[in-house]
């Protein structure tokens, strides 16, 4: 009886393997399902950001840089190639201005080309003048 049970289980496993869905995804042809809390590229809510620099201070990978001229005139730059996608900046921000998006970060051979200027108060000041 035990023998038959084992063989039946084997047969079931075989049928499941042949008819079931594949475990792998043919990316990028098929869209990748990312988990809910996936930490992808970061985005900034410019309205909320006050340029306090806490995110820059806590970033372990030096992925963010803040050039500050005065309290309201500053430039925040994001370097995706350096980013460790650890979520430390999101956690450090008291105003919830910085968040991880649920999107795969892009890949490139030229890290300089994907640098993102998250907020540039300096430029805004210049254009106002």
């Amino acid at each position: 009886m035990q023998w038959l049970k084992k063989r039946m289980r084997l047969l079931l496993a075989l049928v499941e393997a042949l008819t079931g869905e594949a475990e792998t995804v043919s990316y990028p042809k098929t869209e990748l399902e990312l988990p809910k809390g996936y930490r992808g590229a970061i985005q900034l809510d410019e309205e909320k950001c006050i340029g306090c620099g806490l995110c820059v201070m806590d970033c372990p990978a030096h992925g963010l840089e803040l050039e500050k001229e005065s309290k309201s005139v500053y430039k925040l730059t994001y370097y995706p190639a350096r980013c460790a996608y650890c979520g430390q900046c999101e956690r450090a921000c008291h105003r919830q201005a910085i968040t991880h998006t649920n999107q795969l970060p892009g890949s490139t051979t030229d890290p300089e080309s994907i640098i993102v200027i998250l907020k540039d108060q300096k430029e805004q000041e210049d254009s106002d003048e």
Binding site: E23, K36, G37, P60, C86, G87, Q88, R91, H100
Partner: protein, 360 residues
Amino acid sequence: MDKMNIPIGPQHPLLKEPLRLNIEISGERVLGGILRLGYVHRGIEKLAQTRNYNQNVSLTERVCGICSHVHTTTFCRAVEALLGLELPERVHYIRALMCEMERIHSHLLWLGILAKHIGLEMVFMHTWHDRESILDVMEEMSGGRVAHAVNQIGGVRFDLDEDHGPMVDSTVKKLKVDYEELLDVIEHDTTLKARTQGVAPLSTDDMKRYCVVGPVARASGVDVDMRRDDPMPPYDKLDFQVITHPDGDAWSRTYVRLQEIRQSLHLCKQIIDDIPEGPISVRAPRKVPAGEVVMRSEAPRGELFYYLRSDGSDYPARLKIRTPTLPALGILPEQLSEIHIADIPVVLAGIDLCIACADR
């Protein structure tokens, strides 16, 4: 018969991580081995002194790719002890849940590697398939497959929502069924027993002399487990057994780890059933007062030890990490004497080396 030296590593198909072994052989007998470490030394302890406490949470996560969560848990607990923070109960439960899931996937990974070295490819495929389901749950909960980034000083970053509980529950149930099937195969497989029983046995005294910890020590009859001996909450409230075996050979190490998977599955179920409601973090002050603290946790490979000294500045004055693999490497030359060449993979896989942890 003439003696001969065979170099193994640092890059070798037998090794998953870089390690150099110079093995002396005579015919088919291995006479001894000389070990060389440091190929993946990244200077993490020194690096930690140049970063603030929040940055160090991410840094300690990168000590190891398999037990990343327990490293951050121990580090955060050390900082929280210096800050004198009282954490909500829910935080401890979420941390423990991740620790147990990490233990399951680490042991399954190890079992797969051992089976592959012995030649049981089918067991390797099954264990890694089961491991994948645990990793999927961890990824779904935390957002990361390897670097989970669960911990922060003062709590955890994510909360379990209404989907997570049933997801863990169903995965544990499914794994229990798969696990019993696997156990049945392993316990009755003559090849596995023939390849592991009586291979490189080490006595309880040897283990104590070399200060070996974790499943390797427990397989030689040393009854030590930080979850019971120095419990972090909520382990003091949970019901589990510390598995030991008296023989100390490669088979007893397999037995101990297999039984530990069962205990961890049982613990996951208990945590999900008992998890209390409440907040998941408290606001931690940025300034850490001067002082020193020692924190210990039970990582999948044994006792993980963190020593942290603060001088009141933004950066730690000293961070010392003692990982469980380091003492286990100490007994490796002793194990590599008077065995057959064919037993080298079993000995190496049996102690579950994590070179990245040991080198830091």
